[in-house]
Amino acid sequence: MAYLELNNIYKTYGEGDNTTEVLSNINLSIEEGEFVAIVGFTGSGKTTLVNLINGLLQPTSGDVLFKGEPVIGTSHERGVIFQNYSLLPWLTVSQNIYMAVKEAFPKKSKKERNEIVADYVEMVNLTPAINKRPKELSGGMRQRVAVARALAMKPEMIIMDEPLGALDALTRGNLQDEILNIWGKDKRTALLITNDVDEGIYMADRIIPLRPGPNATLGPEFKIDIERPRDKTELNDNLNFKKTRNAIIEYLMDIGNERKTEALEPIVLPDLEPKSFVGRF
C-alpha cells in the first residue's frame, strides 16, 4: 500500500451552470521516503491539487488516502510550504515558528519548544535574523522561515506548493540545495509542485506532468535515474538529464499545442441582422 494515494479524484468549483471541473481523474501514489515533483503550467490546478492533499479542500469525488486513512482535514503529519510564504507579519521569525511548534508539541515545555525553534532557525541559516519581523527579511529569507516553520512540526510528509516560484535564480538554487539537504537527512516523503522542469529534475525521484486545466489530469510519469547527491553543473552534461528534460518539455509543449488547436476551433457566430432604424427618427 502506498504512503499517499489519490484515487479517481475529481474536483469542481461552482454549482449548476457555472460548474468548472478543475481536476479530473487524478490518480497518484507516492511511496514512503520518495521525492515526487508535479510540473505544470500556471493555472493548471496545481494549488487545488495541493490543497486536496494537505486537507484544506475536499475532493468532489474520489479519495485521498494518507497511510491508508482518508484525509478529511489538515494534519501535523503533513507539513505545508505555501507558494506565498504566508508568514504572519505581526510576529517575529521565532514567534512564527514557535506558533507551529506549540501546536505540534503541546506536551513539551516552553524551553524544549524554544530549543526546537532555535534548531530549525539554525538549520535554515537565519539565526542572526531570529528576532526580526517578516517585513525586514528578503524574499529568500522569508521562504526559509516558511520552510523552517513547516519542518519544525516534524511532519512525516512535506508538501511544497511552488515554494521557490517568487525567488530569483540564485536564491532559488541555494534554497533547492538546502531543502534537499534537509530532506536527505531523515528522508521524509516529499511532494513538490513546480512550474520549473529543471528544478523538478534536480530535486525529485519522479516527475509527473499535470495536463493543464480545466479538467486537469496527470500525465505519464518520468523516472529520474540520476545518483544523489546531484551536482547542478555536472547535471548539464548528463545524458540522462538531457533526455528526460527534453522528453518532459516535449510532452508539456505538445499539451500546450493541443490546447492551442482546441482554442482555434471555429466559433459559430449567432445569426443576427442589424435592426432597421429607417423611419424611426
Binding site: 484544506l56 507539513g79 510564504y85 504566508s86 504572519l88 507579519p89 505581526w90 506558533m99 501546536e103 517585513k135
Partner: protein, 368 residues
C-alpha cells in the same frame, strides 16, 4: 546618529514629517530644490493662514458695516435724524450698548481668548482659596459623617474643556467596549452578521439628537432614586452610542475579511479556535479596527458638542449655547474661540489615533 533616526521615525509616525524636513534644511546648504520644498512646506501654509485671517478680518468688517448701517437706517426711519446721528456717534465711540451684533473680527476673538484665560486664572485661584478655606471644616464634616462642602462656582472655559474631554473619553471607551467585542463576534459568524445587519443599517444613520432622547428616556428612569450626575451619564452614553457604529462595522469587516492565506496557515497548523482568534484573526484585523476607532473618536468629539448643548451637561457644548443665549458683547467672539478650540482638540485627538493606528498597522504584503 541613532537618535536622529528615532526622531525622524517619531515625527513620521505622528504625521509631522515636515519637522525633520525642516531639520534637514538647516543641516545642509540650501539648493534650489530645497528652496522650492521650503516654499511649499512652510511659506505657503503660513501665507495661507495670514490670507485666511485677512479675509476674515475684511469679511467681519464688511458685515460690521452692514449691520451698523442698518442700525442707523432703522434709527432714521423710526426715530428721525437726531436719533440716527446719536446712533452713529454711539457706534463710533465703541460704546457697549449699541455695538452691532455680528461676526467678530480676528482681533476681537484673540481678545476674548485672553479674557477667557484670565477668567480661568481668577476662577482657579478662587477655587483653590475656597478649598483651602473649607479644608478644616470638611475634615470635621466628614468625621461627623456629613457630606463635604464642594466648590459650586461657575466653571471656567478651561474647566469646560476638561469636562468635555472627560465626557468624550467616557463615551469613546463605552463605544470601544461595546463595538469591538460585538464586531469580533459578528465578524466571525455569518449567521449572526446577517441577523444583526438590519439593526446596524437602521441605527447607524440615526442622528445624535435622537440617541440623546432615547438615552434620556432610559437613564431618567434608571437614575430616579440616585443622586448621580445624570446629565453626564446621559451625554457620555449618547456619545458612545452615536459614535460606536464605525468601529462596529470596521471590526466586523476586518474580522470577516482576514486574508485567506492566514486562515490557511491557521488551518494547517491546526490552531484551536481561541488561538486562531487571538493569534491570527485579531492581529490581522487590528489595522481596520483602529481605523474604525479613529473615526469613532472624531465622530464622538463632533456629536459631543451637540449633545452637551442639548443635555445641559457641562462642557464646551453648553459653553457655546450659554454664550449664545447670553448675548453679551463678547459672546460671539467667545463662541468663535470655542470653535477653534474644538477644532484644535479634534485635530489633536485624530493625530493621537493616527499615531496608534500607524503603530499597529502592517503592510499586507509583509509576510507574503
Amino acid at each position: 546618529m541613532s537618535q536622529g533616526i528615532t526622531l525622524n521615525k517619531i515625527t513620521k509616525l505622528i504625521g509631522l514629517g515636515f519637522l525633520s524636513d525642516l531639520k534637514a534644511l538647516f543641516a545642509r546648504k540650501l539648493v534650489k530644490e530645497d528652496f522650492i520644498k521650503f516654499l511649499r512646506k512652510f511659506v505657503v501654509p503660513i501665507a495661507s493662514i495670514f490670507l485666511f485671517i485677512g479675509l476674515w478680518h475684511l469679511g467681519a468688517k464688511s458685515l460690521y458695516n452692514t449691520e451698523a448701517n442698518y442700525k442707523i437706517e432703522k434709527a432714521l426711519t423710526e426715530r428721525g435724524q437726531v436719533a440716527a446721528d446719536e446712533m452713529k456717534a454711539c457706534i463710533a465711540s465703541g460704546d457697549v450698548s449699541c455695538q452691532p451684533n455680528t461676526l467678530p473680527s480676528p482681533a476681537q476673538v484673540w481678545g476674548s481668548f485672553q479674557t477667557l484665560l484670565e477668567d480661568h486664572k481668577v476662577i482657579s485661584s478662587d477655587k483653590a482659596a475656597f478649598i483651602e478655606k473649607t479644608a478644616a471644616l470638611n475634615e470635621t464634616r466628614v468625621a461627623e459623617g456629613k457630606d463635604a462642602i464642594v466648590y459650586t462656582g461657575r466653571p471656567s472655559f478651561v474647566d469646560q474643556i476638561f469636562t468635555s474631554l472627560k465626557t468624550v473619553f467616557a463615551g469613546f471607551l463605552l463605544a470601544l467596549f461595546i463595538a469591538v467585542p460585538i464586531g469580533v463576534v459578528i465578524g466571525l459568524s455569518k449567521t449572526l452578521r446577517s441577523s444583526v445587519n438590519w439593526l446596524i443599517q437602521i441605527f447607524k444613520p440615526v442622528s445624535p439628537v435622537v440617541w440623546l432622547l432615547l438615552v434620556f428616556m432610559i437613564v431618567k428612569t434608571l437614575t430616579k432614586n440616585s443622586n448621580s450626575d445624570s446629565a453626564f451619564i446621559i451625554s457620555f452614553i449618547s456619545v458612545g452610542l452615536c459614535s460606536m457604529w464605525a468601529t462596529l462595522v470596521n471590526t466586523a469587516m476586518g474580522v470577516s475579511s482576514v486574508d485567506k492565506d492566514y486562515i490557511n496557515v491557521a488551518k494547517v497548523l491546526k490552531l484551536g479556535a481561541f488561538q486562531k482568534v487571538f493569534k491570527v484573526i485579531l492581529p490581522s484585523s487590528l489595522p481596520l479596527i483602529f481605523t474604525g476607532l479613529r473615526i469613532t473618536l472624531s465622530v464622538a468629539w463632533m456629536v459631543l458638542i451637540a449633545i452637551e448643548l442639548l443635555a445641559q451637561s457641562p462642557g464646551l457644548g453648553s459653553f457655546v449655547w450659554e454664550e449664545f443665549q447670553n448675548g453679551a458683547i463678547d459672546s460671539n467672539s467667545k463662541i468663535i474661540v470655542a470653535m477653534f478650540v474644538i477644532g484644535g482638540i479634534g485635530f489633536l485627538l485624530d493625530r493621537i489615533m493616527l499615531t496608534i493606528q500607524n503603530m499597529v498597522s502592517f503592510n499586507k504584503n509583509d509576510g507574503i
